[in-house]
Structures are given as C-alpha cells and as structure tokens.
Symmetry: C2
Subunit: 216 residues, 2 copies
DNA sequence: AATGGACCAGTTGTACACAAATTTGCCCCC
DNA sequence: GGGGGCAAATTTGTGTACAACTGGTCCATT
C-alpha cells in the first residue's frame, strides 16, 4: 500500500489524540514540537499540521512563545457537551441506521467477550481503550457521515474527563455497568432493533454523566 | 486591539470559507496557494494552515502535485447532512437555550427589516449572505458551544449546494418564504418561546430541502 | 498512425533557518 | 532585602528553498 502524506498526517493525529485521551499527556502538559518531530522521525512542519487539527478540535492550545498545552475542559462546557452527545446517541438510531449485518453481530459479541474478561481483571486504561473502541462501533450503526464524525469528535473531547474521574469511582462497578450495556446492546442488535440499541446507549451516556457529576 | 497569529488565521479561514460558500470559488476550482498568499500579503505557510482547516471541514481537498480543489458534495451525503441539520435545529430550543435579551429581539427585528428590503429587490447573492447571517443568529439562541459549532460547521458544508440550486428555483418565492420564517421566529422570540423559534427553524430546514430536492 | 517513454511546467509536501513572543533568572539599584 | 529591568533561553510563527509528485506534451520507435 502506498503511504501518502495524508496517511502520515492521520496516523500522527490519531496517535497524539489517543495519548491525550488516555492521559499519557494529562491536561496542562506542554508538548514540544521539536521533541515530537524527532520521535516520529519527521520535521516540525508535518507535525504542526497534526497539532493544528488537534487545536481545531479543542484538545490542545498553542500559544506563541509559550508552547502547545493540552487543554482542560471546564465543568460547565463538559456538562453541555455531554447533553449534546446524549441526544446524538439517540439520533444514531433514527437517522439512516445501517443495516445489521452478521459482521456487526459478531463485533458486538466480541465486545461482550472482552468486557467479560475485563470484569475478571479490571484495569482503568484497558477499560478506557475498550470503551473507545466500542464507541466507534456504536457510531458505525448509522450511515450518516456527518453524525458519525460529530459524535466521534465530541467523544474525544470528553473522553479524558471521564478517565480522569475513574480513580475516584468504583472501577469494578463501572466495568460491570459497561458489560451490562454491551450485553443489552448486543441483544437489541440481534433482534434487529437498532433504535433500541441507540436508546440504550443514550440512557447509559446520561447515567454515566450523572455518576461522574456526583463525584465532582 | 492586538492582532495575534490566531486572529489572522481566523480571518483567512473565514474569508476563504465565505468565498467558497458564495460560489466565488465554485466546486472544482483550483486554488493556488501562492496566488492567495500574495493576495493576502503573507507567505504560503499561514495560508496553508487555513486551507488545512478548510480541508478538515470538507470544503476543499488538497492533492499532492495536483492542487487544492474546491469539493463538490454528492447528493446522498447532502441529504443525510440536511437530515442531521434539521435535528440539530430542534436541539437549539431544548439544550440550554440562551435567555432572550432585548438585544436578541432587536436583532430579530433588524433581520425582519433586511428581509423586507430584500423582497423589494431580490438578489441571490445578497439573499445568501443574509441567510448566512441569520443562521448565525439562530445558533446564538443556545449556549451549548458544541451544538453551536457543529451546526455552523454543517451549515457551511451545505450552504453552497443551496445557492447553486437557487437559479433553478423561484427567487422571489424563496425570499418571501424566508421573510415569513424570520417574521414567525421574531414573533416566537418576542413571546419568550425559544423552543417555538427552534421548531419553526426545524420545519423550514426540512421544507427547504424538500424544495431543493424537487429541483435536482 | 499509434504507442511508449522521457522530459517539462506547475503544484503541494517537507525541511530548515530565522523572526516574534514569552518566561525565567540574574543583576543592579534603591 | 526588595523591586525593577534587562538579557538569555525556550517556544511557536513565518518565510523560503527544495523535494516529491502529477499531468501534459513532444518525440522517437514500431
């Protein structure tokens, strides 16, 4: 396969985004363009393009003469973003839902297995990663590109706040809830009910935020 | 006021976006980085950052060795984007609606005046510009930043398709419908009903797309 | 005449050097 | 001892030269 400049940009962007959202770079971290460029074996120019995209997405903030800082979301904006995400989750079931293929069912079952394993060995980071993958699976249930892109964009904006609060919460309980959500969604999809699956997700986003808010 | 690099970037981005959406650069136009840089009295570097943002928003597409081309949206994606926009318009009334200040009422009345003037001298380009400004006004009725940003992003993605279809439609009739919409929304806001205003917008987005689809 | 290849003009992508801006630490002065 | 200011170090922003790539043209060959 060819490796176009765009592919390289997307990889850079994806890697940095994941590091930010998994708190490898906690809020307030100062990212060095030069150091990152050296790490990825490139010059500052392509790296800056990836950082520019992250800045447009609100994950970092570059200030002339100071540095590129990983942002922190204030509680008010996060609340409103979560409300928005909740509504978007419902739309996934209503706007051009994707046909439920055997592959989708297989993926759902795979996630159910992973969640079961996670219950036996809870781990915050692995939990976050699985949550991220399952979110992508959820957005793939609609064929509406704009809805998908928007949902993912907002997910990555709130993901790290969630992971940041995990230490103050009951990890085992959260994993159990997550496993139940996956099981219910798998069941809904097996009966051909995309709308039902979307409503379950919507409910869980709402409740997840409520638990999060109770800790803050 | 100071003129930070970010201000310059935002201006560049805004100007180019407006040119694309008002069809000064119709779909397929090849933009020259060097020519634009010369026009704005800067080098390619800052200009490329603005183009990169436009590319992330889906308004242009840069191809190595070929050029930066203004994109054209296919009918299927536009349909789905319009459906999404319709739902977002409804959310403006439900998610943290902004308090209705006298300033908002004044703005609404101003738009009503502008629309009345436009009825006496219909002009496609001026229509498009007023429509754009009124859209921004509409998103300002919610305090949910994410909803506002998303709505605007999607508006600009579909705006030029609408303007492109105007020549095949009855301009006077469209202006009249627009003027009625503004009047109804102004009335709803004067009676303190943000939700009502949002529902009117939702209805008009839906009907606008239906008329658009009938022409295609 | 058709076809293949090499060259050429033009464009975006990358690297690097330098400018602009901010922070920090130090020194000097009061 | 404290405060102001200056300069150096560090960082992002900008300009520019060059590399990589594409599309078209022209010419040679079959």
């Amino acid at each position: 396969m060819s490796d176009t400049p765009r592919d390289r940009l997307n990889r850079l962007h994806q890697v940095l985004r994941e590091r930010i959202c998994l708190l490898d770079y906690p809020p307030g971290t100062r990212l060095s363009e030069e150091a990152l460029a050296a790490e990825f074996g490139t010059s500052r120019t392509p790296l800056r393009r990836a950082l520019a995209r992250l800045e447009d997405e609100g994950l970092v903030s570059s200030v002339h003469g100071v540095g590129t800082l990983v942002t922190d979301v204030d509680i008010g904006e996060m609340t409103r973003t979560y409300e928005f995400r909740r509504e978007l989750a419902g739309l996934v079931g209503r706007l051009t839902p994707a046909p439920i293929t055997p592959d989708i069912i297989a993926q759902a079952r795979h996630f159910e297995q992973c969640a079961t394993q996670l219950r036996h060995a809870p781990d915050a980071r692995e939990f976050a990663r699985l949550n991220m993958e399952f979110f992508h699976f959820g957005t793939s249930l609609t064929e509406n590109e704009a809805l998908r892109d928007t949902s993912e964009r907002l997910y990555y904006k709130t993901a790290r706040i969630w992971l940041k609060s995990i230490p103050r919460m009951d990890l085992s309980a959260e994993v159990a809830i997550f496993a139940d959500e996956i099981r219910d969604i798998r069941a809904a999809l097996e009966s051909g009910d995309t709308m039902g699956a979307a409503l379950i997700r919507q409910a869980h986003i709402s409740m997840c935020f409520a638990r999060l808010h109770a800790q803050a």
